[in-house]
């Protein structure tokens, strides 16, 4: 019973990755638009994009961490 609840909880927690997907798409979409407006800023904007990608990925991975914690540890 607990094992079933654990698996259901894991599945529910994994839906946090929707936010990660949307966030990463927004960041790189903004990078494309920014470089389209001003191609000379490509290096600087790319490094900001990588920083933003790491932040967005990290937030999604917090949710994935909760999912793994529920599945294997709790």
């Amino acid at each position: 019973m607990i094992q079933a609840a654990r698996i259901i909880g894991t599945g529910l927690a994994t839906t946090g990755l929707i936010g990660a997907g949307v966030g990463i798409g927004v960041v790189f979409g903004a990078l494309i638009l920014g470089v389209a407006r001003n191609p000379s800023l490509r290096g600087q904007l790319f490094s900001y994009a990588i920083l933003g990608f790491a932040f967005a990925e990290a937030t999604g991975l917090f949710a994935l961490m909760m999912a793994f914690l529920l599945l294997y540890v709790a």
């Binding site: 920083l51 790491a54 990925e57 990290a58 994935l64 961490m65 793994f68 294997y72």
Partner: protein
């Protein structure tokens, strides 16, 4: 209901095991052991040393390929530190940031080798790094600004009525920096390795099921290979992001934005 089967979980690859241990009842139950994480951290240390030796290139002035890689890592971290902290005075923090970058990068890359051990996937290691960095930045801020350090928690142009709430929110967000810096690195490496482990298990089961399934299993295998490439990129990116954010926190301590 009490027959439990021994299930192999994807978390097993991260288990810290004693490789060589010495347990003696002397000196109050002494228990020294070389664990697998200790071994891989030592291997990482020797690897950095050997790469440094290879880059010295017999003390020639002309660089070989190893020297060029070392110079590019140096230039990357130097540009991060001077860009984030300060052009002139920021170089004091460069050795620490360089060691942090190389430590995280080499341990991430050693974890990418099949059947090896990813030391940076352990929360205790990344939390100790991140707590140390943020505590150091806080002490730096206090030693430079005294009690004016608390002006860090007051955002610019804030209406007076909202001030208590905002200060509390900023304070909690500052405390969360300790956790988020380390959690980001460990969670990325852990989830990447666990995903590869699970997918490989499934793909192996597919590919060993029959003759047709071998060719059918090449599609998930291609995905696993592509995802391993992404993991390699993540290894570099997470090291760079850790250093960029550490420099940003040191700058917050020094300049109080």
């Amino acid at each position: 209901m009490s027959n439990f089967i021994n299930v192999i979980s994807p978390l097993d690859q991260f288990e810290v095991r004693n490789l060589l241990s010495l347990d003696a009842p002397i000196l109050g139950n002494l228990s020294l052991s070389l664990t697998n994480i200790g071994l891989y951290l030592t291997i990482a240390g020797y690897l950095v040393f050997i790469i440094g030796l290879l880059s010295s290139n017999n003390n020639k002035i002309v660089p070989n390929a190893w020297s060029i890689s070392q110079e590019s890592i140096y230039a990357t971290v130097h540009s991060i530190v001077t860009g984030q902290i300060n052009e002139k005075n920021g170089q004091v923090y460069f050795p620490f940031m360089y060691v942090l970058f190389v430590f995280i990068l080499v341990n991430n890359l050693i974890g990418m080798v099949p059947y090896s051990f990813a030391a940076t996937s352990h929360f205790i290691l990344t939390f100790s790094l991140s707590f140390t960095v943020v505590l150091g930045a806080t002490i730096l801020g206090f030693s430079k600004h005294g009690l004016k350090f608390f002006s860090l928690f007051v955002p610019a142009g804030c209406p007076l009525a909202l001030l208590p709430l905002l200060v509390m929110i900023e304070f909690i967000s500052y405390l969360a920096r300790n956790v988020s810096l380390g959690l980001r690195l460990a969670a990325n490496i852990l989830s990447g390795h666990m995903l590869l482990n699970i997918l490989s298990g499934f793909t192996y089961n597919i590919m060993t099921s029959g003759f047709l399934f071998f060719f059918l299993g090449l599609f998930p295998l291609a995905f696993i290979i592509a995802f391993s490439g992404l993991e390699l990129g993540i290894a570099f990116i997470q090291a760079q992001v850790f250093v960029v954010l550490s420099c940003s926190y040191i700058k917050d301590g020094l300049d109080l934005h």
